[in-house]
Structures are given as structure tokens and as C-alpha cells.
Symmetry: C2
Subunit: 181 residues, 2 copies
Amino acid sequence: MTPLVHAFVAHFGEMGSRWGINRTVGQIYALIFVSPRPLCADEIAETLSYSRSNVSMGLKELQSWRLVKLRHMPGDRREYFEAPTDAWEIFRTLAEERRRREMEPTLSMLRSALLETPSSEEDRVAQERMKGMHDLIELMSNWFDDVQRLDAQTLAKLMRMGARVQKLLELTGQLKPGTKE
Amino acid sequence: MTPLVHAFVAHFGEMGSRWGINRTVGQIYALIFVSPRPLCADEIAETLSYSRSNVSMGLKELQSWRLVKLRHMPGDRREYFEAPTDAWEIFRTLAEERRRREMEPTLSMLRSALLETPSSEEDRVAQERMKGMHDLIELMSNWFDDVQRLDAQTLAKLMRMGARVQKLLELTGQLKPGTKE
DNA sequence: CCGAAGTTTCAGTATTTTCTGAAATTTGAT
DNA sequence: ATCAAATTTCAGAAAATACTGAAACTTCGG
């Protein structure tokens, strides 16, 4: 590893825990991401000085996040891994997986909690707060879904507009006052 | 705790690790969030059966996330805690803190990596990929900043529009072809 | 300034998570 | 079918993280 790559890999290792993956997984991903060619598990284990089995686990985890793709090289039985390099594609994948793992379980817990009949004033207040949380999470979840379908270019456009989108919304509201929202 | 509140608290405890906080912190937050009145540390420790010091740590952590607010009750020296109940406010706070903790350190690492002169073809490729990642993170970071400033109503409007915003952007492009992006 | 009520720190313990190496399994060429 | 190359599983070791209780500290009324 060159010093440049090493610094990148080390950073991903350190940040891993904040991002909900562990150090090994972070480093493996970073290494694959900057590699000019697909890597096999042995090369990764060698480069990062991790056991072969640890790397195997890490690669499985990365596959479950859909952050790495499996490839086969002709005349070689080993599995090679590469990472999508398009940043927008990565963002989309991450957003989708996070929604699935971090929002959906909570949404379904909230849904069933809201079906219960409150047994006290305390419960009534609790449900009220849960309702607020539920509605927001649902809104965001659907929004993610929608955004998922936009092409990279439109997304970029939307982001670059930033706060100016507010003006646009006000304008639209005036143009089509009956359309609501 | 009523069964309803218990289920909510337990869920937050379990999800905690996925959200980058620990079980205790998740449960403390959940409890404060649904409580109809501010709670003091002793009540929390009692209700959740955690040691007083563990609760103290947890509350500090929640304060660092700006998810709970400190209050004082007249004639009582103890510190009471309550959580903002407006879902949008919570979302904003979370987005801002995550940006600060999960994106900014990476952004600055990438910035310095991109200043290096690549020492090989391998480094050149690595830098290219890092550039893509850097640009996207920066874009998102700035977008978060912008969105931060929108009021809840506009945000909700934007989200509810979902994918239809694309149409709007196309339309705008046609209306003001010279305005760029 | 004293003491009681409250909060925080911290060193040690418990728990959880990560990592390894050996064994088991799968795969595919012959 | 056989066998060697590769991958996966898994039980236990190692490391990291969370939790506790006791002691230290802070705050404020008197």
C-alpha cells in the first residue's frame, strides 16, 4: 500500500464504528474502492494483515450492503471483488440499505404501538409523540423511495439548488393555487 | 412503565447499536421522549434499572447530540430532562450532528489526500475515486446546510412532492434556460 | 463557611463484539 | 468420482465497550 492508500484505508477503519460497520469491514471496503483492479480475498487479507476468515466475513457483510460486486477472472477459480465507483450509485445503495435497516423496523414497531388502545393519560401522550415520529419517518421513507428513482443528474441538480428550491415552491404554489401543497 | 411505553423503550434499546448509540442511551432517550413531564436522573435510573452513574453518562451523551434539554423545576435542585417533541426539529438536529460526526472528518481527510502528488499510477486512480467521493460528500454536506435553514412546512412540502420535483425542475429549466442548473 | 443534596469521575468488572485458526464444506477441473 | 483449490463455519481467544459502586467533586441554602 502506498502512503496515500494507507491513509484512506486507516481512516475508513477508524470511522467504521460511527458508520455502523466494524474496522475490518471499513478497511476492506476502502481498499477495494481505491484499487484499480478487482482484488481477491487473499490479497486483501495479506495487505491488511487480517486472517483469511475475517476477510471472508467482512466481504459477506459488504455484499449484504451491496457495496461490493463479485467478479470472476477467466482461468482463475478465486472470487474477485470490486466496488462501484460512481459516487451517486453508492449513495443510493447506502440510503436504501439504511432505510431498510434503520428505519423500517422502527416504523413497524410504531405502527403496532399506534394500534393499541391507550390505557392511561400517560399512554395517550406517549402515543401522540409516537404518532409524530411515525409520520415523519414514513414521510422520509417514502421520499427516499422517490429520490431513489431519480437519475443522478436530476439529483445533483436538486442538491445544487439547495435552499433556492424554497423560492421555486413558493412560485409554484402561486402558479397553481388549486393543486394544494 | 406501561406495556406500551415499555415496548417503545425496549425497541430503542435494541436499535441503539444500529444508530450509533448504545442500549442505555437509546432507552433513556425513548423514555424521556414519551414522558408527559420532564424526568430527573434518579427517576430514569429507577425506571430502567440502570446505575445512577450510567444514566449520568447517557444523559451527557444525549446532551452532546442535543436530543435532550435540561430544565430546572422551581424549589428542586435536581436537573430534569425533556426532549423536543417536534419531529422536524429532531430530524434537523440529527441530520446536523450526523453531518458533523460522520461526514466532516472524512471530508477533511479526503481534502488533504487530494492535495498530495500521486506517486504512481495506482495513486492516480485512487485519487480519482477519492475525488468522486469528496465531491459528492461536499455536495450533500452543503445541501444539508441549506435544508437546515428551511422551515418545517417547506421541508414537508418538498418531501411530499417526492419525485414530482423532477417535473418541476424540468419545467424551470425551460422557463429560465439561462439561469443554469 | 458548612453541610446536605446532587452530579460526575474513575478504576475495576462484566458483557459484547471482533478476530483467529482449525476443521468442514463447496466448487470445478480432470 | 476424485482431488486440490478455494470458501465458510465455528468455537474459543483477544479486544473493545458498557456498566457499576465508591469516592471525589460541585452547588447552593442556611
